[in-house]
């Protein structure tokens, strides 16, 4: 059963607005982002030398269990935190699982509601904007703390919004963009319009989607259209093995419609060929591994849109 989780977002590094947008887009791939707060600027206090944080909270409708969701949040942090080609890039995004349905969990790895929820103005202010239940907690904070959290207005907000739009429209090549979000974006796109050309440049981890004369942009109307349709599922087929991956014959092509179960390739390990099958019909939206290339455990090979 789908649950509504509230996820807190923060960024104080790089293009903070774009970081939040990317993260929200990836969160959307974990279910559906049903509401988002305004953006807030959080003035650092104490002796912190850090730049200002940009904060927001989103409501995420998801089928994932709390710990699985936490794992996905950490995975998004890792993906977006990494700079191109650098394993240990600084963290550009901070994601916190604040609330998960009515669940109460206390543990080493995860506590929901978040254990410091009641002390954090930069969380409570946007959270209360989405859910009135949290207003009393917010109002209990002292004025000094509340003053540190400033809602973006006017030109400041427009600046971030423009940056976000630019990112959404252009998807610049340097964007590090997770496979799940990429596949979902593509699948959404393909499900709406069959007569398009799709090109995926994998080496620099970027995608380019070209439709007849118009760049793809996701609008609120699109969002609603997708939401109204039957939920679209994208399966990522990952490698369980370490070995050399080979394409099947005929070689799979991105965009290919799979009528039924098809052998897309195989992994050769210890002299044994293990077939990689499409596990049913769908549309092959992404080929993530190269032909005759080494693959490791957990490495995505294909993304297939079902339904």
């Amino acid at each position: 059963m789908a649950q509504t989780a509230y996820v807190g977002l923060g960024s104080n590094l790089g293009d903070r607005g774009a970081n939040l947008e990317r993260a929200i887009c990836e969160l959307d791939a974990l279910g559906r982002v049903t509401a988002r707060s305004s953006l807030y600027r959080t003035v650092p206090w104490g002796r912190t030398q850090q730049p200002e944080f940009l904060n927001a909270v989103v409501a995420l409708e998801t089928q994932l269990a709390p710990h699985a969701l936490l794992d996905e949040l950490l995975a998004i942090e890792r993906r977006l935190g990494r700079q191109d080609g650098e394993r240990w890039g600084p963290r550009a995004i901070d994601l916190d699982l604040l609330v998960y349905g009515n669940e109460r969990i206390t543990g080493d790895r995860l506590s929901v509601p978040h254990e410091r929820l009641a002390q954090r103005a930069f969380v409570l202010v946007p959270l209360a904007e989405l859910d009135e239940c949290f207003a009393p907690l917010r109002d209990a904070l002292d004025a000094g703390e509340l003053a540190g959290v400033v809602r973006l207005e006017g030109s400041e907000r427009a600046g971030f919004a423009a940056a976000a739009r630019e990112w959404q429209n252009g998807m610049p090549a340097e964007t590090t963009f997770g496979i799940a979000a990429r596949a979902r974006a593509l699948a959404t796109f393909l499900s709406e319009d069959d007569a398009v050309r799709v090109r995926i440049a994998r080496g620099d981890d970027a995608i380019e989607v070209v439709a007849r004369g118009r760049a793809w942009a996701r609008t609120d109307a699109d969002e609603r259209a997708v939401a109204d349709n039957a939920p679209l599922r994208v399966d990522t087929i990952k490698s369980d093995l370490v070995g050399i991956f080979h394409f099947g014959r005929p070689a799979p092509v991105e965009g290919e419609v799979l009528d039924g179960d098809r052998e897309l390739g195989y992994i050769e390990a210890l002299g044994i060929r293990t077939p990689i099958r499409s596990m049913g019909a769908g549309r092959l939206v992404a080929i993530a591994a190269g032909d005759d290339a080494p693959v490791e455990y957990g490495q995505p090979l294909f993304s297939i849109a079902r339904g």
């Binding site: 394993r87 790895r109 093995l241 210890l270 455990y297």
Partner: protein, 448 residues
């Protein structure tokens, strides 16, 4: 290829780098951000967090070695280090397993058989049985040997699958517990009975052999400071208060044992010493956690020697060329709660300062911000102190531990400091009962 994780993976990587050998690391999904992944020349994910599906995933590990054109596999300690089948599979795929022959690993890995074979070679062993078929057999054997007895897993190590049985009424429960734990830890539930030697010291001998029949020992280590589950916490070399004749007889037995089975590469023979008696307990056919103390006093790099010997080089020195100098102590820093039965503490390390200065060596894979996954051993660092005398080494260790700061998880640092401060430790008059008694007596660390 380095088929391990954590500090020992770094240790092996360091030896390889100094030898100009390229390395391939393996890692689990939980270790993606680990230092060994970053420092190796190449790294491959072989499975998810739980070790059974990653660091013990033989097909993926071997496949990694093959597709990266590795020549040899260093297993470190734990995981697959004493898995004869793995060593055999390596060999069958043209990979050099850095350790003794699979035949020797299998022999020594079966503790009951190892005891029998070495007994025949003239090594003193504790009175005990072969593998038991049932609890009734255990009962009969225990009656014959006399309580108290020890139930031990034949595939065991690190205190797992081991139970002390003081009288017959406890036997059935202990037998069930030991077999279940052994089955879970080693996928081999077989156990045997051994006479419990009261308050022994745990003394072990480091050996090293090449493929040409050259065998040397590199002194002994006293590992008697053990937590209640027989897990070592502090080790030192040389062992204080070990009579010179007893020491010589240990060395002589160790070499004789190795010669009798055709031992090659690095290994450790563990003995129990009680009064003027020593008994062979078991042999570990791999590098040990506590190998650095030996390296410090012998000024030798055991991991490099392992690699050199495995590559077919002769040792190039004899016993008389070797000499130990000074005293070395190792303290294991574990992420666990000494106040709560050493429960492992997973978490993220927020602040981290390691000691330095003269005579101090730290082997660790930890860094500030690192997350300690819940799946693996809780040891996060080894602090080693060297000095010309035992007193100097202890003073250095105390100084080093006070410099150490690990925030975010609970550790054994304060407990180690308390142990170092006790009269028994200072005087070198401690045995394996020392730490459990200290904890039971309610030291400040255990009580607070």
């Amino acid at each position: 290829m380095i088929a391990n994780r954590g500090e020992i993976a770094l240790r092996i990587n360091r030896a390889c780098q100094e030898l100009g050998v390229l390395t391939v690391a393996i890692f689990s999904e939980a270790d993606r951000e680990s230092l060994h992944v970053r420092q190796a020349d190449e790294a491959f994910c072989v499975g998810p967090g739980p070790a059974g599906r990653s660091y013990l995933n033989i097909p993926n590990i071997i496949s990694t070695a093959l597709i990266t054109n590795c020549d040899a596999v260093h297993p470190g300690y734990g995981f697959l280090a004493e898995n004869a089948r793995f060593a055999e599979i390596c060999r069958d795929h043209g990979l050099t397993f850095i350790g003794p022959e699979p035949r020797v690993i299998a022999l020594m890995g079966d503790k009951a058989t190892a005891k029998r074979v070495l007994q025949q070679a003239g090594v003193a062993t504790t009175p005990g049985t072969g593998v038991l078929a049932s609890v009734d057999e255990a009962r009969a054997a225990a009656e014959e040997i006399g309580y108290p007895i020890l139930l031990k897993a034949t595939a065991g190590g690190g205190g797992r699958g081991m139970r002390v049985v003081d009288d017959p009424s406890e036997l059935a429960r202990a037998y069930a517990g030991a077999t279940a734990e052994a089955e879970a830890s080693f996928k081999d539930g077989r156990v045997y009975v051994e006479k419990l030697i009261r308050s022994p010291r745990h003394i072990e001998v480091q050996v090293l052999g090449d493929g040409f029949g050259n065998l040397v020992h590199l002194g002994e280590r006293d590992c008697s400071v053990q937590k209640p589950a027989h897990q070592k916490l502090i080790e030192e070399t040389p062992a204080s208060h070990l009579a010179p004749t007893l020491r010589e007889s240990l060395f002589e037995m160790a070499i004789r044992a190795c010669r009798s089975v055709g031992y090659t590469n690095a290994g450790t023979l563990e003995f129990l010493a009680s009064g003027n008696d020593v008994y062979f307990m078991e042999m570990n056919t791999r590098i040990q956690v506590e190998h650095p103390v030996t390296e410090m006093v012998f000024n030798i790099d055991l991991v490099k020697e392992q690699i050199r010997v495995a590559a077919g080089e002769p040792l190039g020195y004899e016993q008389r060329d070797l000499g130990a100098r000074g005293h070395a102590i190792e303290c294991r820093i574990n992420a666990e709660d000494p106040h709560n039965h050493f429960a492992p503490a997973a978490g993220t390390v927020s602040k981290l300062v390691f000691p330095g200065g003269p005579g101090i060596r730290v082997d660790t894979a930890l860094y500030a911000g690192a997350t300690i996954p819940p799946y693996y051993d809780s040891m996060i660092a080894k602090v080693v102190a060297y000095g010309d005398t035992r007193e100097i080494a202890i003073a250095r260790m105390e100084r080093a531990l006070r410099e150490t700061m690990v925030e975010g998880v609970q550790t054994t640092i304060d407990l180690c400091l308390e142990i170092l401060a006790t009269k028994q430790f200072r005087q070198g008059r401690y045995d394996v009962e020392f730490l459990p008694q200290l904890l039971a007596a309610g030291t400040p660390a255990a009580a607070s």
